[in-house]
Symmetry: D2
Subunit: 379 residues, 4 copies
């Protein structure tokens, strides 16, 4: 089959690879029809992770089941399925409580597994024609009859829609509340979209990229352009000096300030300033335990200089980490099926698999208008 | 009346002061019969806050109502009452949701008020013969018929029992879980005691002071002596390498490492190491937004070098801040009344008010055996 | 002042009554500018309660503060305020936990108080020019600067918007779920509206009155006409045979079946049939502990023949009772202020106070098109 | 193998049956070492269900894994395991949310499956030498190293300890609250025990059987003897007229009043009388959708004459149904392992399997002192 392979920093290419096979009776093989490039793929692409050369990338996958293992019962050949980016066993201590992002068995010796990702287990990704899906009865989300028609919406259930929603869940967004979101990338936009769905009365999105802020406004959010570093001030004005009820971090450690320097504590400390006392924050932007390429001594150790005194003084709460996609994907699927959510609005480019390297290059350059790239392996 | 007055760093004395009067129709006057010295009084005592000279200290107060304002209905003359350390109006946006620690009206221009405390409003404390209690119908907890007999238990409802309980609530401790608590001072011991009440199967308390660790063991906790900085390792062993389900920070910014240096990020980063992935942390130890006397540049700005990458990678959650005492004091009172909780176990010294300065001196020196000092103004 | 007075079954009139006065230092007097007739007023109007003759009705009130008691601090003369129908003291055991509908002090000897209502205390209602508001600092919701302009929206915060929302809260409606609502009266419509705000993907409203079902459709719900008693069947079809995730009862004991007989267990048993296993139900329709005018022996004793076996077998959950309005009114106010909710859509008639008796007559007759009557005293 | 077989009403015997075999790759075979007779087995024993003759009973099972299917990974030969009474697939819509008691796949066409139980699927029970366990990786709880030593404690994790705990979870019991429990059978006693673990300050148990009430007192509960029908009155006295904060129903539809008549609505209506306004109730006693042998017309239809008016007026909440054992068994196991819970205290008789029929006879007769019968197949 054809697949996107990592050759080294900023070097990916489409290559021939052996087709995946059923390895365990609980596996299925899926023919991928849509797979996205994710912002977190760029951490690997840029060489900021330990990912090995030869890895097939791709953890936002949707397709058709073409082969099922002997122990697979619920999923059937021909099912159109969307796959959570987390691979989870379904029966460990964490999975049984719904924490599928922290599966203890799919990536032995570590916590949590994923397709085609650094330090998330030996699994290849789905930016390819075919994908092996472990623990398939547990992991596959079977899609309804409009699966093909709404494929570009449903594929967002693999990661960014649940991840954006997770930010609002960790932040505890309630109907009638205000929310401030740092980051208008795909995850930040999905967090804003989720905050609307949850009935927030005011959703403020802070970023510096105008094309993304325009999308935020398009879905009804208030866009705050932080280019002049006046974002904090503006959020406080918009919330009458009190700060927002809830906040979401959707940027992560590779946060650039207005001068183009990487400042990993920028968004978290801005959230401390702009979320009200008694409020809470959900952080889904990626932070790394070590970052050898980090900007300073703290960053290299995976630390940030955190405004903890003010955080404590305000009595804030904070939830973090990767989304357990299965916790949310069925409910969000219902909204898409009913026509109440169309997360495909943020897709800017739809490319055949062979053009994926071009997609990486432009998305990594944050080139104007490249918000979200969707790949179509079969075309 | 006689009252304990702050004269400057490490200088308090008992002086004559005018008796408090009803100032608003919602006030009552309480004759104080028991009032404690709190660990957080020591921050002021040591000159590490902005508290003004002349302030009467004391926010852990219990006594008898001797006069009531014209609008007071629920509280009556003769009632024995325990007073939450937070002063709250009962009707602002935060109070109405139960966040009495973040009252917006009792300390105008700021968030949260308290008796006799730095930057918590113009209120004198209760280490005195009499105390004015604002918004009395809302703030007074009327005690049951065994009030006098169990006065040393009930007085703990003013602060440290609810504060320790708050740590376990923020951490989300459930029956059948393990909990690690950093700090075996009065609040840490109350957190351990609360974790037992909540049905934890394993409660681990980490500290370096042997007298306090002995108290932890006395109530059924596992004591870990961190003197040799092997605490983290031992907690991991006790939890089979996974870390505890939940963690509590009960030390705050004035945390000393084994060499006697103040290391404000020590306990939080140890919690990140010793709480399991998917777990959560409650932090009730005091941290300050600014700390001009802090040990280094970060500390002066109220920042800590926080292991945020590992915190995020583990998907941890964190709740912080002062306890809203009213959220817990009635339920904890029920447990004392029924004989199921006797928080007075940690009292080491009971002194007449006139000897309060001696109490401060010894408690501040962390003198061996000085765990908790209770003052008796009327004696 | 002029006020609507109850003279006996189906007999109300506008009469002269003494202006209310400040009776306690915590009172304020409000000049009523908008006040609604509520479906629950009809229980009294029809003589199905113990309400005394001479009572002024009206518990959905909004107006301007014209006088404040000596202990009132937060509310000021000139404030535009909306008043929760529950009168609550703010400091009893139930109020302090947010259960203002179950205040233990405002109606001594009973639980819960309200304006102008049977067995809810000695308080007159607001279908009048002026109203005395007890515990004003706690009870008044101060409205924002667009108070006058959106008066017909904000007045719904006194009862039916929070009550409809309460149904969805008791039912635990989550984003991406389906909800079935029995009753398309004002409260049922507000429940449907609230379910939308909370992100339900499917909201089904069951009733027999076509004008009300049309309003349900207007706000995006699916209307099911139960005139032919095929409602249960249709709900099951719409939910693929499983039943809805959540259900709301918004009818109460005076439920009429298709033959015009009162059948108090009809809606609850239909909910048991049409809510899925593991689901939950919120019941805000009024049921009475005794009902001497009830249709049969069970009804007279306040009992229903409840399908408890099936309820248990499905593992259903059920929450009931009056809304604690303060729990919701601020957040819902935010939505109105931001233009995200306009509950006035259900108003069918706006009448001067003098025409209130005509309003009662037509609303009680469920006359076609009389969905909701708003009164304007002062005009 | 030898197994207990149902021959018809009040007729069970030990017979030879073929050993169970691995039927699917996800199965394991367990050699049963301890298995209990459950109160709910008596419904079948007495002929009050549709259970077919020839069924092997037994859903409270513990033993050793002796054979594993080809797809089983987590469970290993030699593991000591305790088996939840619910059989669940682990991957359906309900299982993935933790509702394993409502599995949609293990008993196709119905909701929920169990071993050896009427209308819960084609599965034989474990009152036998061997048992086939479906979806074994999901269903088996692997026990710690003291499994053999504490077998009589751990076996309670299969049903009654989680079921009793579930009653307190549905009721929302919080530390510092009072709880009233109707029924002092094994489940009621486990509910009382669980309420203690959760930190209730007062646990009241109502029953008429003196031996069971004595056990309730032994674990620290207050026993109320309802033989003279003064139970309600006494509970109200014990709770100062207010009623308990929370209530648990642990009796079910086969509830006998003091005259020996079956009165299915007795306990639920007593709970409505004795739980305070704003309180909540958990009901785990079994109620049946139809009961052809029921005492009256309502009972036959699975209905009860429920005091719904008073229930609503008090704003009560109610949760019902079978426990999803996996939600609780790991945490409760931790408590047993740490020596903080010893549910075996309620065992009255330990019998070899061959004497099971005698156990049924005496337990069914509620013979004095026959609280709980444990069977030991291998002996």
């Amino acid at each position: 089959m054809r697949a996107l392979v990592y050759n080294g920093p900023r070097d990916v290419s489409i290559q021939d690879r052996p087709d995946p096979k059923i390895e365990k009776p609980t596996d299925v093989i899926v023919r991928i029809t849509t797979t996205n490039i994710c912002g977190s793929d760029l951490h690997m692409y840029e060489g900021r992770t330990s990912v090995e050369r030869g890895k097939v990338f791709g953890h936002e996958n949707l397709g058709e089941v073409i082969e099922v293992g002997a122990a697979v019962e619920r999923v059937r050949k021909g099912d159109r399925v969307c796959l959570p980016f987390n691979i989870s066993c379904g029966c460990c201590e964490n999975c049984e409580r719904g924490y599928t992002a922290a599966c203890l068995r799919a990536n032995p010796g570590s916590v949590g597994a994923a397709y085609g990702y650094a330090e998330m287990g030996p699994y290849d990704g789905g930016q390819a024609e075919y994908l092996r899906v472990p623990y398939a009865d547990f992991n596959c989300l079977a899609l309804p009859e409009d699966a093909a028609e709404k494929e570009n919406d449903y594929v967002m259930l693999s990661d960014i829609f649940p991840t954006g929603y997770h930010a609002t869940e960790l932040a505890g967004v309630q109907p009638g509340e205000s929310v401030v979101i740092y980051g208008a990338g795909p995850v930040g936009l999905m967090a804003a979209y989720s905050a609307m769905i949850r009935g927030a009365y005011q959703v403020i999105v802070v970023d510096t990229q105008k094309d993304r802020l325009a999308l935020a406004e398009q879905i009804g959010a208030i866009a705050v352009d932080d280019t002049e570093q006046r974002g904090v001030e503006q959020v406080l004005e918009l919330t009458k000096g009190k700060g927002a009820d809830r906040g979401c971090e959707c940027v992560g450690y590779q946060c650039f300030n207005c001068k183009g320097h990487e400042v990993p504590n920028l968004t978290m400390n801005n959230l401390v300033k702009t979320v009200k006392a008694t409020g809470s924050i959900g952080c889904v932007g990626v932070f790394m335990p070590q970052d050898p390429g980090g900007a300073d001594e703290l960053a290299k150790k995976g630390q940030i200089a955190f405004d903890f005194g003010e955080f404590w003084n305000k009595g804030l709460q904070l939830g973090t980490g990767q989304a357990s996609v299965k916790k949310y994907n069925r409910h969000l699927m219902n909204l898409i099926h009913a026509g109440k959510a169309t997360p495909s609005f943020l897709i800017s480019h739809e490319l055949p698999l062979e053009q994926a390297p071009e997609g990486y290059r432009n998305f990594d350059a944050r080139k104007d208008g490249w918000t979200k790239v969707v790949l179509k392996p079969g075309r």
